[in-house]
Amino acid sequence: MNLIINPKNEPIDKTHKDEAYTLGPLQAGPPCCDPEPLIRVDKLSLHYGKKPALENVSLDIYKGCITALIGPSGCGKTSFLSVLNRMTDMIPNCRVSGNVHFDSRDLRHPALDVQGLRRDIGMIFQKPVPFPLSIRRNIELPLREHGMSKQADLNEVMQQVLQDVGLWDEVKDRLESSALALSGGQQQRLCIARALALKPKVLLMDEPCSALDPISSGVVEDLIQRLRGKYTVVIVTHNLAQARRIANYAGFFWIKDQRAGCLIEFGQCKQIFEAPAHELTAAYVNGSRG
């Protein structure tokens, strides 16, 4: 499917200049047969003011795997994501309780280096947010903020990440023109490239394809597939077919008693879709509920 939609992705796989940046071929990476948890979430609850949004969520995010979070709107999937890179700090009256650990770091520690954390755990939003700058400056600005100042280094990283997301051939002749002039799919890939440039360990994606047309969505989906192994990906999606295609693990969220979101079931993607343990999960993935 990806070959038909985006033949331009092909040559990228052959460029193995820098191991740290270049993505492997499609479907590469560990098959997650020996799962090693990278993020451990234990009894996480989240309130906006007095209103509970998430209750008692416990799950492990496995290193190098793609974890899909599915469920109806308003069940707290996005809130869950924003706990993982402390974007909850930006929301007034947001209270988080429970334990969240990333590697050995306590994500809820008040003295945590949040900027460093967000460098390690990148985030892609539903609506692409390119900065109103040139394509080049979009990639360079965060890198400069994190201390990379040599133009040669910046150029190298920029070319590699743009190749990684399959955007290099499309924009290499107009790096100085505004990123706002790109199409929606290109903007989203630029945002992913911008996040990859910081060499994160984890990428959080909040419905990255839902604002895109089917073809751009397919291109971004292929890109996410190719992140497997090199990066740990947590993706929120309403597209069940997409979750089924790309995820190694899946978590199903549901709103309990019209109150707060909670995790109904978590497991290997295949199991969630083919042999769900909970009847709500079965009803949702079969399309009879939600």
């Binding site: 974007m87 967000r118 990148g122 939003f125 947010v129 903020e145 100085e176």
Partner: protein
């Protein structure tokens, strides 16, 4: 159908009335002011209480007063706007207090600012009737306009930029300097223009603070007559000064237009250099 026609007619009438008044005013000043406008009018000192001669010292005083006011008010108001918009919550007690005070301040009549400036700058700080006193008084007067327009400009920048910058591990100040302020620049320039317009048109506050003296000022501590004060004096106190009052008014409008276009092109140039697309 008839209701629609009536509404359309009323809307047209309103806009024709508004632009009509503007063109009437402009053409009146042009018709009466243009014949007397000459190079010597711009370059000479006033003679015979302003009935003849030019307005050179008055233009210089006006520009000096304006410069003092803007150099003081612009950084202060930008800093306050950034504090209000980026570093305090919108509904915080502090934010509400500052906003309410600014709204009250914006509604204070300029003559009150003049009395305050006279008491504080001229007498208490012992600056006397001087360009400095006048400029500082005007700075106080335009602060509310500048702060509120700058704050609104910053708040109108997409919140997505703040979130995306934070998600990339950028500090708030980096997001402010590289993204939010450049995006808000057109609004900041528009606010500055409003402030300059209000300052350059001010008469009452200046009579009490920068004074009447129509000689060429030697320093900021000299008294200087602003164009608006000159126009007021010529038309109200000097018999036979009407012609020069019209020409001075025309010069005032031209100065505003020139400052306006310079600021716009500077902002454009600067935005282009930092490659921000607005």
């Amino acid at each position: 159908m008839t209701k629609n026609t009536l509404a359309t007619g009323l809307i047209w009438l309103a806009s024709i009335l508004v632009s009509g008044v503007f063109f009437w005013l402009l053409s009146d000043i042009l018709i009466h002011g243009l014949p007397h406008l000459s190079w010597s009018f711009l370059a000479d000192a006033p003679k015979n209480a302003g009935r003849s001669g030019g307005i050179a010292p008055i233009i210089v005083s006006t520009l000096l007063i304006l410069a003092v006011a803007m150099v003081t008010a612009a950084p202060l108001s930008l800093a306050t706007a950034v504090l209000l918009s980026e570093f305090t919550r919108y509904d915080s007690v502090f934010g509400r207090l500052v906003r309410r005070s600014l709204d009250v301040l914006a509604g204070v009549p300029s003559i009150v600012f003049g009395l305050f400036g006279n008491a504080f700058f001229c007498i208490y700080l012992d600056l006397g009737f001087s360009i400095l006193s006048g400029g500082l008084t005007l700075a106080c007067m335009v602060l509310p306009i500048l702060i509120r327009t700058a704050e609104e400009g910053l708040q109108a920048t997409p919140n997505d930029y703040r979130l995306a910058a934070a998600a990339l591990g950028m500090s708030r100040s980096a997001a402010l300097v590289h993204l939010l302020l450049p995006t808000a620049t057109p609004a900041l320039v528009a606010g500055l223009m409003l402030g300059i317009g209000r300052a350059v048109a001010e008469t009452a506050a200046l009579i009490f603070t920068s004074g009447y003296v129509d000689r060429m000022p030697d320093s900021l501590f000299d008294s200087g007559r602003a164009l608006s004060v000159h126009i007021y004096d010529l038309s109200m106190n000097v018999a036979g000064g009407d012609a020069n009052a019209y020409s001075s008014a025309l010069v005032l409008i031209l100065i505003l237009l020139i400052i306006n276009s310079i600021a716009m092109s500077l902002a454009k140039h600067w935005l282009h250099r930092s490659d921000v697309t607005v």
